[in-house]
Subunit: 258 residues, 2 copies
């Protein structure tokens, strides 16, 4: 259907290596040729590069691959359209302001009978089930928590309970971030890996690129990568289970139901 | 302070020529070195390229300059920071969903005593007077028009009256678009030109580039360009007056108080 990629790190880190692998799946090593996007957080701000063209031949993707933007939270998505045509307004990730922060969302999967989900103040712009589900989540969270609590754990537990409801409507693998926390929810396809010292070599599956993270990092770096399918073939990725969620903060899991 | 650039066209048109001139003002021919951004509409979707780095040396700006994205509505901004530090969250344009569409906003100028403007549901993310004024405008429009009217003229007349109030707080040159309409409001620095057949040559002021629009266009094309200062030196630009506003739709002025 689609592919997801997320990152949470304790120091600003570029995602060029993982992005290089993912982009090949956008029409070359994978069938996901209906657009792609990536959102980088830098402080409270974020910027999204997006293209309705296949990622493996996109000039914008080439820029992102070669231009190391350092970030502590990243979400990326490559699309194989099911609900909603191939168009910029249907291209993930989607970003909305909530509690004075940028919240960014990307979905892998497909829902049925989702049209009745009430989105209240948050009106979808495009035609995807994904954006509608995002608007519904924001609406439900704003009803449950009219004011942002200091402790975000209850918020993410509540979001996980909303994801359980969405999973009943089909396949719902999710990445969601406010720039500080990266939330991952699994229906069937989501893996993660946490890289920390001692760092070693990694070999991409989708492209003939190898990296020695020891040369790119310092000993205190902690970087979590989340992806629908593992991106490297010489590392151990944790396969998430149906209904499992993880909240990453600066590279570390701060909440999970595992 | 800053520079603004906008486009409204009746056919998807690239803005590479005008953008090339504007970008030079971001640290080379002008002092606006505190970031830049540009938003292109493609259908209901839009995409923004943004960089807190000076535009004249930005790799992302190089891409935008050389990669012809065709659009019927564009807003761009290069920044010389006054309110709010140099940071991505303070970099224009700002985009928010309103009435199920993407609304994009960029401001040239500086306001005083703006902190009391009530933004209601629309919380600013950064620290600029500009974004706060944008949130206030959206809040006021949503109160005045709880539902989007079919005729948008009353909406833009109301937005102009809000701009009159903001102009009382300082300098407020504005570009605002929902992808169909491009609204321009002048306090002191805003010019526009409408290019249509017969097309001729144009020479940039800020860079040694000349273009023959006759080679780039068809006879039915109509393209309006709005900029704080004229970008070419061999064409006649209309200088807008204090309090003057224009609403462009597909290259043509559909509403003005001139």
């Amino acid at each position: 259907m689609c592919e997801l990629l997320g990152m949470s790190a304790n120091v600003p880190t570029d995602i060029c290596f993982s992005f290089s692998g993912l982009m090949q799946r956008g029409g070359k090593t994978g069938p996901h040729s209906d657009g792609w996007g990536i959102t980088f957080y830098e402080g409270k701000g974020c910027r999204t590069f997006r293209d309705p063209k296949p990622s493996f031949e996109s000039k914008v993707a080439q820029l992102v691959k070669n231009y190391p933007i350092k970030s502590q939270a990243v979400i990326s998505h490559i699309r194989q359209a099911n609900r909603g045509g191939v168009a910029l307004e249907n291209t993930h990730p989607f970003t909305r302001e909530f509690w004075g922060k940028n919240w960014t969302y990307a979905h892998n999967g497909q829902l049925t009978d989702y049209q009745g989900l009430a989105t209240g103040f948050y009106t979808p712009i495009g035609e995807t089930d994904s954006e509608l589900a995002f608007c519904w989540i924001l609406q439900e969270v704003s009803k449950q928590f009219p004011v942002k609590p200091n402790d975000m754990k209850p918020v993410f537990r509540f979001i996980a309970s909303l994801c359980d409801q969405l999973r009943a409507l089909g396949v719902f693998n999710l990445l969601l971030t406010d720039g500080d926390f990266v939330f991952a929810y699994c229906t069937n396809n989501l893996h993660h890996i946490i890289r920390e010292a001692p760092f070693g070599h990694a070999q991409l599956i989708d492209e003939n690129i190898e990296i020695n993270f020891a040369n790119e990092t310092s000993d205190s770096d902690v970087v979590a990568i989340i992806a629908t399918q593992p991106l490297t073939d010489n590392e151990v990725w944790h396969k998430m289970q149906p209904g499992e969620y993880c909240v990453f903060c600066r590279g570390t899991i701060m909440l999970t139901n595992k």
